[in-house]
Amino acid sequence: MAVIVCHGLKGGAGITFAAAHLAMTLSEAGAEVTVLSVAQRDTLPLHFGLQPALTLPSLFAPAEDAVLASGINLRSHIKAVDDADFVPTLHDLGYLEPGPDRVMVIDVPASEFAFARRIIPHSSANLCVLNAAPDTLALLPQVLDESSAQTIARTTFAINALDETRRLSRHSAAFIRELVGPRLIGRIRLDEAVPEAIAMLQPLARYAPSSAALADVRAIGAAMVPALETAGRPWVARGELAAPSSSRAA
């Protein structure tokens, strides 16, 4: 009954995309997965090929109101960010304990960093999604300075929308890699198929099964699986990992 937090330094990094596909990968690995969105403006359903007008049911709504996509339970709890009892509530629901069978992925917008700091120390892992861009790099010192040791210990990084054909992107990715070392669990190549799938109201796996970004994000999801049983440091126990960064994709 593990909780994995998806968060990021800056809006637009692809946190929701990563959360959705992490959930799909964990579900395909056999877990019963719930994705919880705490965003006021929610785009989570789009990554599952659902209609933009869809409103996700509350975390506490009855089972008959559930929205299931690919077997994944999609829920919303906007008030969680202001709810001082949210962590005890998760405990009551049976979460916050390591285990591979039942997982909650919480999609936390970058702006809700205070909420993230509150929940991450109780989670099994935090996937920090960031772009290899100078404005994102500039935020790293402040974010690290504000983070507790417990938060940093649970944090794994993933670079999203990496355009390796661009020099600055490559240099920025190299800087991140040098900074965070083994905590960088993978990178997701920039892929036009991601927005195209949303526009087609289809899951990425259906619209573009050979998508480079899909392969990358699946590898990251697989690398996060050990965190379900060994809370805190998914990079310690992982085995087969993301594709080498030396490959360049369109």
Binding site: P141, E178, L179, R189, S210, P244, A250
Partner: protein
Amino acid sequence: MRIDARHLLDRLGKNDFAYKEFEDRFTELELWPILEALLRDPRLQAIDAVETAAPEPVVSEAVGTHAPEPLNALFSRYGREPAAPSDAAAERRGVQTQDVRAMLRHLSDLGSRGEI
């Protein structure tokens, strides 16, 4: 993906394109003052302080092929002594004069080996 690109990939038996890698020259890597500014920020040492407090077992590398090493060790290669494990907080505030040029040279080396 455009249909003509899809047909080309099908003919090549590939799922995506692979661009030719070009070496990043050291002089080009020096063009980014933001990297130098960040390397001089002691707050980046926070990530290393956690590693010092809770050493990790040796792990396989996910993205790059170079061996992971603590940030303060990285800096120490460029002209400073390694930080004392028990003095991580003081080290965070004290690291002001890293050899940024050597750090960038290291990045250039990674690029020349195709690891960037």
